[in-house]
Symmetry: D2
Subunit: 464 residues, 4 copies
């Protein structure tokens, strides 16, 4: 079915929220645009829940935002408050519309909708505890665990119930939830997954996993939700609560390396510029003799530009990407299968022939695409193919909301750099050092989660 | 959208279950056929949950059984146990796939699926109670109320939890539920909604709202679940529990008049033969001078045959029904709108011209179709049009799972018989008497729910 | 795919046309309703071409009228003139939207649309002749042959071109064609396939394969197009031309027996009444001792009513048809396959048990359904099953637009009546005589095509 | 519907062909991949016709290649020869599946399929001539004109018929056609539209509008079909015929500027390298003081790289494109409409703030997008916005197969460069000179069609 598999870790979700006191504001349209900007964080399902002060309506479905929502669906979701979600799911079982988010329930607090990005490390034990207390789960999502926890606290004010629920959660979570007339945003105590907020005019507040979904709507006063912070928005405006100490911050470094859109700003740092700094650092660490620097499309481009600037080796477009490669590509018959990678991107022979080529990729996970890319460049006549990776070797799986293959499938988990070089067939293979990565990102190592490189997990996996 | 509205009360659901100890039996295929036979009880959504001993899988969707299920969907549901459901929903809000049944959850008892026909009169108070205890509802169905009640009893055996849950329910309910390796059927203490069971070979048991879905699969030993009875089926076979006294039986008389398929057997009485008896009784009560007896297609046919036999007036086919009238018929432009009823059925002028015609319909609800039918027969040249109704005036709305219009829209709630006659434009209008109906059905009046005719509701509507 | 095959000959097409001088009339809506009434003549594809005086627009697709056309499609077809078509196609190759009709072309006469019912016996030789002259065919339809013949006559008035084209055609054809501002109807010299016309108000004329599509729109002055007649309608009104002698009329008798809707009038005879007369004749020819007369659903009902009236044996509903049996029914797994016929219709055991039953069917073609029906009645407890066929043995395939199996598959082509009886398993099998059929239809034998019974084809099959 | 209109001329078609003597080769799969690579030349409809030696089968539909073709469609098209087509259509009338290509007919030569890129300048007169001779057109495509011309020559060998037909055509055309056992490719005498061929192994020949669809399949011996050349391929191999003098070549220069994929080779020149040369030339002609050079995504990237190299001003990624912008984007509500361009691409403020920015675009047609892009850069804080266009002013519409707006809508048709600068709001606006363009492309001006810039049309528009 999926003829062209992308050999990258996959982000599982993006969240969006909007709350306005302008009753005429069509929150569904804003959320549609917001999710559009976050589409790279999940392409399998999406949904929008909209509140109008009295009730909450929901539409969700399988597919891209542009496939699930048309004019009619947006018209059927009136109201000035909304929560939206895009999702990538990892298993076939989970590829069901019932697992799409936001989740909407009626409970003692009335209607409640919630969207979640991340992964709870104690989801299983919380789920067991809730089932023991009588909960019946209809989905396999962490969102349903969270929302059931909230619903348990029926006899106290919502604000208090949110605090108590927050206190029970472990692991990575960025949450936006709503009642018909209020909205809240949570970021986990370690701030592992990103979540930002902004203001539009004087009457409207926005939440989004990435700032690109705020800036493209013209939002101002954009700031990140702090680790451990809860922001509640009502008609009286936003109110902030610090629910956990900030000291333990462990922001996912892979957001800088691969997940986030280049125009987003994370922790005050523009992603494109961080990637350029990474490329520059790589050029410093790994000096090279080459004729050209090219990027593995599209994820290596920013780093390649930085590398070129630092090294003085010209940046070039050596591989042309087919803009129309989609999700439903038919697997070619066997004799054509080796062509897969040429369908996805095709080399410019006239440029590569006889040249010593450095190709910059953000990471190697399984290595399958890398093998084919090197082969492709050689066939195009490259005299030398040097693969430079804009991050350290990817060794350990993620437990915080990123879909990664099992350790057995992680190339660097099983092989030395030299073995990997031989496997991918490059003349040279160079990784960025951990120190270099830290320097380029410009944040202290203890503020970042680098577990995929170091195996040093900031939170234990509580249950299996 | 729906150019040709059917002016009848609407059944809200049909349920089906199958449990086999033959592991090779494809329960999904049987359930597909069973739901096909029950399709007249609900055309808006349907679903099948299949258990294989270890887990339960579910597929459901909007539309007819033949639209929601294809070969692929059935293949993806392996296992020898299944529960199925067809549904007609009353409000736009409820027309969402999330409200389709069966409902499948994971709870302290493991996976649990459940399908329900009827309407709880205490659904709202149970829901409130459950929310107070921390439940979060994702649908507006009674099934979710029932399944949450079951899940609350987490620390006792399932059988005991089922009994305690059953004891909390009020109103009309026929339920089939399952775990991965057991199945249960419930009928409410008054036996308001129908539910039967049967056996196939020595290893397979079936449940169905109507016997037509059992007999067409070749089932034997078909019997009704008794009012107040719970049947649990495991690999050891079926076991019956009488959970409530049978004395209060109040079976819906409208199943005989309109809902059930003519080939079904209810309370030991074949529906077609009951309808013929009703027609005969109508001919005795309301003697007539006429040239022809015709049926309002299709629901009046059995009664018309009985009427013709009793009265000696020939039975004829005066109105030909278009077999292809479906749900998506486009509303004609205004100038064509009066043609609607001719699109649905067209008179045979050569037969009707100059004739005194008795047309038998099962009931009049809003009366909109009756007006057009009389007009149609007159245009076709009928000398006289006498409308005979095979039931008493329909005066009161139903609270037990049947979708009826509000009292204001119920023609007989506001008008005398003579006023109705003038409204529909017939030369004569005759209803069956209550006593006549009872005589024709052949059951004592205190065994039937006749609230729609008498206003005597066997169960109070506990909440609003 | 098609789990429940209907063992009947299949009509290949229905045509409809409307021409109004009222520019505001939305011909597409009328045609939609007209095709709805003709849906029984073809369920595989349909189309509507609408002229507005200047141009012709077309929409067509695979499926029922209600599936292919929605409000949007009708809105996109403005204008007061239209031609419509419903089609059943015989081979997989022909199941392509390109073969759907009407066919719309631009030629020397400008835009021209045409819809056809029937089968040309010289289609192949005409096609070859046209290809030799340079025509390039995009479809396999006779319509394209006809329209290319018309287009060949580019330098003469359209009326003259139509006459010359008509003169070249052999076999069975009922055609409605149009230019942006005129319409024409043709019926072949033998009048084999039906075609009628009518008038609506003073400004609108209608064509239809059957009168049911005219009467349900309220048309008046309904008459058949005569064999050999061409009617041309322009803003000046209709004009009739007799293009061939009427003497050779050979109207398809099977329209009376099975194809036409009971409410249609053919050759001045209402179809339902003809079928009743056939049933009466059958009772005269084949006296019987029985308790009940039932119909094979649905096609035997009219004849069964006539049989019951004549014989005095009560008419009953012994088999209940599932109203929801559709085209996409999934083939049950092998062990369930014998249930197929019970899914389609289910017996009423309480009625049949111990009874001597006469079942009336319109015809036996392959006999597959008959075998299962007899089995079904026996299983339901019938003491005797007598099958009475409301037509003579069906022995010969049709070359005039009806899809029939090959002679090898035609049961009566290979077997005596006694052999057929044994094959279907009935206690008695009785066919109507040819003379009895003629008497019941009430037309001289030389006015009817009875080739399927007699092998006496009115027109040779010119090419193969 | 189409919220984000792309303000570029639009290519109307791409063609592909494959002919193999290896009977096991699945030509449909190769064609699927070939059309995938040509998808940028047309996204509205596509089709594949496959020949197996005896017959030709066709599947076509509206949408992208990945939407129209799945595994089932490809399996249903067996055979080792195929012709494929992708299409962009200009008018609503033409947005019908019947106009999708290839066109498949049966004529005196048997089955014939044909796909066409370009526009005949004498299509209308040929069509009239053919209609006068009796042809009836079902589509509005030039392909149907060509195929009817071929079919007219029924009594001579196909090769001769192809030559005579070729001789009648004027304007721009690149054609691939096939019979069940042969294939032919044509390029018009001026070679206006591109067409190349290649060889795969020893037994398979390929045609494609662009070489990217050959090289990504691993083809060798890739060469362009010469202006005026016809290549016929049979089981004996390819044979070439020069049907017209080559002297008049007039290859579309806009293929270099915008249409072709960067990895294609046209006239021996790699498109990306030509675009870089154009960018370099622009830097020479229009020296600039700036901090950054950025590209208008995506079409200006190659030229921007060249400009940066020549000028020494750093190349940057100033605008990030949303990879998921598709065809069905919902128009935002009015208050959000100005955001459209931010949805399509979002600026990196951190990079642009306070900078003097040169933005390189390939051309300005209507100018609507340019206005918004300049605005966007200013909002992002750019100190100066200089727009450099990598071609001369686009003044004249194309008659050779490219969809361009009417002269009235062509910005440069009505305005001076200074007026355009004010209109788009840039601080500076610079176009490339015609001489500079010629120098960069590296072909003599008389080998290229530059009508859109100069108004000097190589072929008159013969009919209107």
């Amino acid at each position: 079915m999926d003829g062209i598999r992308i050999d990258k870790p996959r982000e599982e979700c993006g969240v969006f929220g909007i709350y306005s006191t302008d009753e005429a504001l069509q929150a569904a349209h804003f959320t549609y645009l917001g999710l559009y900007a976050l589409q790279h964080r999940g392409q399998e399902s999406c949904g929008i829940a909209v509140g109008d002060g009295n009730t909450i309506r929901l539409h969700k479905g399988m597919g891209l935002v542009s496939e699930v929502f048309g004019g009619e669906q947006l018209r059927d979701l009136p109201g000035p408050h909304a929560v939206g979600h895009v999702r990538y799911s990892t298993t076939a079982d989970e590829r069901m519309v019932i697992n799409a988010q936001p989740l909407l329930v009626e409970c003692s607090f009335g209607r409640l909708a919630l969207a979640h990005n991340g992964e709870l490390t104690n989801a299983r034990s919380l789920r067991r505890e809730l089932m023991d207390q009588g909960s019946a789960f209809q989905t396999t999502t962490d969102s349903e665990v969270i929302i059931n926890l909230i619903a348990r606290h029926g006899r106290i004010p919502l604000e208090e119930a949110l605090k108590r629920t927050y206190a029970r959660l472990r692991g990575a979570f960025a949450v936006v939830g709503m009642t018909p007339d209020s909205m809240f945003g949570w970021r986990d105590p370690s701030g592992m997954r990103p979540l930002a907020m902004g203001r539009l005019r004087s009457d409207t507040y926005l939440f989004a996993s990435e700032t690109c979904a705020l800036s493209n709507l013209g939002a101002e006063d954009i700031r990140e939700i702090r680790p451990g912070e809860m922001v509640i928005i009502t008609d009286k405006g936003p109110q902030s609560y610090q629910l956990a100490e900030e000291s333990t911050q462990a922001f996912c470094v892979f957001e800088y390396i691969y997940f986030a859109r280049p125009d987003s700003v994370l922790q005050g740092r523009n992603v494109h510029l961080v990637r350029k700094a990474i490329g520059r650092q790589l050029a410093i660490e790994q000096p090279a003799q080459a004729d050209l620097v090219i990027a593995a499309p599209d994820s290596g481009t920013s780093a390649a530009l930085g590398f070129a600037e630092q090294s003085g080796i010209p940046f070039e477009i050596g591989l042309v990407k087919n803009r129309y490669v989609g999700r439903t590509f038919i697997q070619p018959e066997r004799s054509l299968r080796h062509l897969g990678v040429k369908i996805k991107f095709n080399p410019i022979d006239a440029l590569l022939r006889g040249k010593r080529v450095i190709i910059i990729d953000d990471s190697i996970v399984r290595g399958t695409t890398s093998v084919k890319t090197v082969e492709l460049l050689r066939e195009a006549g490259a005299a030398e193919v040097m693969m430079y990776i804009a991050s350290p070797p990817y060794i350990h799986p993620c437990y915080y909301g990123i879909d990664t293959p099992s350790p057995r499938e992680l190339l660097a988990n099983n092989k030395t750099v030299e073995e990997i070089r031989r496997y991918v067939g490059a003349d040279k293979l160079a990784y960025l050092s951990m120190d270099g990565l830290m320097a380029a990102v410009g944040l202290p190592a203890d503020k970042l989660c680098t577990a995929c490189f170091t195996g040093s997990y900031p939170h234990p996996k509580e249950d299996k």
